[in-house]
Symmetry: C2
Subunit: 570 residues, 2 copies
């Protein structure tokens, strides 16, 4: 206030910009005055006082910092600090995180870790509490997360509500535990995100009536329109695997909905490094011809409204000075990023170093791979020659198909038949060293030899392995175990490529560039074994997710997702 | 949820309507299913289950119940129950009240009375806490309302925030008490309304930076545009005295702002009975040619967003079933009003009776006129022949002008000169029988004889009297005192018309029709005395408001509003 009155110098004056004002819906010439991390005022006429620091924008556009309204940090495989270094230069200044993967591995401690690791960065990270650990009773996280586990977090100022309620059957059946989570969130005036792919009509009405406020699973205009009509906020998703923006742009152009905003859900490190983050969605939206004010609202203001974040998403007095200066509006090329009034990135480069890691905190989430010794006997899949149910995979799809193939046996056990692209799929329980192993067959990887193993295996994150011979499979599991988690490629019983993900078995402490190189090396090594998939570890990491159709394998066995039960191979 | 699933019968199914959907921005054919006071679902296809009650809308439009975002109940002179009977038939289902007048007379008990009297009616009344009692140090309410008085109310679920912060100089000067009220409201995540007529530029930035969220004083497009740009929500006002909608409609059409909504501020009973309420603003907006969805958003949804009322302002699952059925959209003729799913009004007639009055509560706010005996000596205005400062009034204006007229004296005291329309204006302190009397001269009433007295005298609500002779003035004060408050017209020392307002001296327990008749009788009686003003009691009631330009009279004397000080007559 003192600064606005001209009684004190402002920290920063951005002169001669073009302000994209989401409040009034206008773009006009203006000076933006910043002090103490907040916007003091925006003046259509030149601001008459000198700032401690001044910058002539020379007509460049200024827009509010971007918001990702729903994402899983773990999909980037980055720590919060490295993630901030990756996305702040892309204009992201606020993210709403669902620490679902950390919570599967670490329980409430995983949520606490994410909240704590958001400090000291030019990026505000809010948390939505994971609603569905486990994703279904057919997979085994460290332990289920109950409504009672979430309660202590609901009053944390970093927590905005309950994350994607994937348990649609539970909600529709008025399951006591599912409703308890929803009601305890609502009674604190916080929001409950939805997750309702293809839920329509009366089922959608029941789901909405339960108090769900949003959904990010619409893939087509008519589904999105129905959800908007029923009062759900429309999260438009553009992830690495699931990309829905192009399909929904016609609806955004038609309705210009104030109840829609952008999310990425899951973006992998390669995608972050190459395409960017929410800024890539703004570019697609502008290319489609939407009004720039509207595009910026979708990328910032609307999300702030949904989450009740009244201090961001706009450039106006009292709002956080989260500001992007653009070299060019049409191509949304970001020249500079200010977070809380501090220059945080310029020309795509971060200007900050994350605070030094809290070694004790990182140690507490390391060494999480707890597997019983694996022997060929554990891998023996009793069976007979003849038809067997096989999981079919395709490149860049997280859904699978249910195939029937003729099994090959040796000594009364089903074995791989690489010449027909029939490989073993193995899921090893890794939280409690229970020795529980799920065994199945998969077609589509195309490996002629060797094995791939991953400790990233949605959502329970047990170990998933694909391969032919027992020795390779056991060596791959052992390699992942020794790294404390990660990806491994094995040939002839020896590791030929590996990427450690020691934090919860999901995340690397290294920068994004190193991760991208490591992932490319893995893909190349897998290709060298004959692998036909573009990103085999991404495909592998979704083969245990028991809520995505059609056929999956968990530590508990082969899952028929539609029937929600374990089925035999033969 | 059970009903949405078809497992239980719905209370009510409105079939074959045209739903105005503010969430998606569309109008389409639909069935609206209601149960337990909430909307269960809206179906574009016919709902397949029977309801306990069914109604065929035959293509009539259905819109959400209307919201008045800022009003003073006391201006209607009605109790909450009678107010509900007056406005619910006009489609109002939620009002945001600032009990500023009750608070001036009764202190915190006045706020509590308003909150308590909102129960048992088909109208939801929320309260914003009066921020400025007194309006200035130059007038005398019962006692000042401090930040500490407001604190206990801030956690009441009926309280949404702090009402219009009229103390602009205090905010700009960073007055400790003004900022304490704002900060204690904000820290509870509640909103602070503004009141900043003609505050622009840097002063507006300071005001906005203090945390003010809205303003309802814009009278012209450029002022409103500037406020919107600076992040203030635009409350578009159409009161009885201050009517701003016509002037602001071009801006609403240009920007279609999501951060704008309708308020009435002050509507008198005559206006309510003849023009209606928020529905009258919708009609003006539709006549201007705005999109109906946009008009309905301005009249309901947007206000709900500003106040964080997530359960109303739209027709969608889980929202309150506050629904209007229209006979015709273009003329916004309301056929039926449902509040929480119950039919509350039909064809302009209320279908409910207010709960029987709480006699003890009404008694507690009666008998508030506490005046010392008034004698001619108290009215003696010492002065000399020659120039004197006079308050100039005009019909239907609450602002005044400062005139200089030649005073007429008798025995060393200034007296009225009705032949030149120079009358005495007297303000008698009435909360503590202090005997404090403010004396002045006024021009514009045109009374040839007699006197008018009112216990409604903004904002401190002392007694305001206009007249010629001491005897008439004393008789008028006495008449108001005997009624426990109200309006009185006196001629030759006798009351010729009177309207009792026994509740806090501001409000009548009678229905709106009776009040309207009473007010008309008063206007006629005043006209019979030669009064030149259309609504002399309305004009009189604003002559003590020490924050509206230019010259006012309070119990403390003649107030130069711009200079914010007491000035001598001569």
């Amino acid at each position: 206030m003192r600064v606005a009155a001209g009684d004190e110098r402002a920290d920063l004056v951005l002169r001669n910009g073009r302000v994209v004002n989401v409040c009034s819906g206008e773009i006009y010439r203006g000076d933006v005055v910043v002090d103490d991390g907040r916007v003091v005022t925006v003046r259509a006429e030149p601001w008459g006082h000198a700032g401690r620091e001044e910058r002539d924008l020379d007509g460049r556009h200024v827009v509010p910092g971007l918001i990702d309204g729903h994402m899983h940090l773990e999909s980037t495989m980055l720590t919060m600090g490295e993630f901030a270094r990756a996305v702040v230069p892309h204009g992201t200044t606020t993210v709403i995180l669902d620490p679902h993967e950390y919570a599967n591995v670490l329980g409430p401690a995983g949520i606490r870790f994410v909240i704590d690791s958001a400090r000291g960065l030019p990026l505000d990270a809010y948390v939505m509490l994971p609603s569905c650990v486990p994703a279904s009773p057919l997979e085994s996280p460290r332990r289920p997360l109950l409504a009672a586990d979430l309660l202590p977090f609901l009053d944390d100022p970093a927590v905005l509500g309950l994350a994607e309620m994937m348990d649609v059957p539970g909600v529709l059946a008025r399951d006591r535990e599912a409703l308890a989570k929803i009601v305890s969130t609502q009674t604190r005036g916080r929001v409950v995100d939805g997750h309702a792919p293809e839920v329509r009509g009366d089922r959608l009405a029941v789901y909405a009536a339960a108090g769900i406020g949003s959904d990010h699973e619409s893939t087509r205009v008519e589904e999105a329109r129905e959800k908007l009509r029923l009062g759900l906020w429309l999260m438009v998703r553009e992830g690495s695997a699931s990309r829905n923006l192009s399909a929904l742009l016609p609806l955004l152009a038609e309705l210009r909905p104030s109840r829609a905003f952008f999310v990425t859900d899951d973006r992998d490190p390669v995608d972050l490094a190459t395409r960017g983050h929410i800024d890539s969605m703004v570019r697609m939206t502008l290319d489609y011809g939407l009004d720039p004010v509207e595009a910026v609202r979708l990328a910032s203001y609307n999300a702030a409204q949904y989450f009740g974040l009244r201090d961001r998403g706009a450039i106006a007095p009292g709002y956080r000075a989260d500001l992007l200066v653009l070299d060019d509006l049409a191509s949304f090329r970001i020249a500079a990023v200010y977070k809380d009034g501090q220059l945080a990135a310029e020309q795509g480069r971060p200007l900050f170093a994350p605070p030094p890691p809290d070694v004790a905190a990182l140690e507490a989430i390391s060494d999480t791979i707890n597997v019983a010794p694996l022997t060929p006997a554990d891998l023996r899949l009793r069976g007979h020659d003849g038809p067997a149910t096989v999981i079919g995979v395709e490149t860049n799809q997280i859904t699978t198909t249910q195939l029937t193939e003729t099994a090959t046996t040796r000594d009364g056990a089903i074995v791989a038949a690489p010449e027909r692209d029939l490989l073993r799929l193995v899921v090893v329980e890794r939280h409690h060293a229970s020795g529980r192993v799920g065994l199945g067959l998969v077609k589509g990887f195309g490996l002629r030899e060797g094995a791939l193993a991953s400790s990233v295996a949605h959502d329970a994150h047990n170990l998933a392995v694909v391969g032919g011979e027992d020795a390779d499979i056991i060596a791959a599991v052992d390699a992942v175990r020794r790294m404390g988690g990660g990806f491994a490629v094995v040939r002839d019983g020896a590791v030929i490529a590996a990427l450690p993900l020691p934090l919860a078995g999901l995340v690397s402490p290294r920068p994004v560039e190193e991760l991208v190189m490591g992932l490319r090396a893995l893909d190349e090594a897998a290709a060298g074994l004959g692998c036909a998939l573009e990103h085999p570890f991404m495909t592998l990491s979704f083969l245990s997710l028991s809520v995505i159709p059609a056929l999956k394998l968990t530590d508990r066995g082969l899952v028929d997702v539609a029937a929600a039960r374990i089925i035999p191979l033969q």
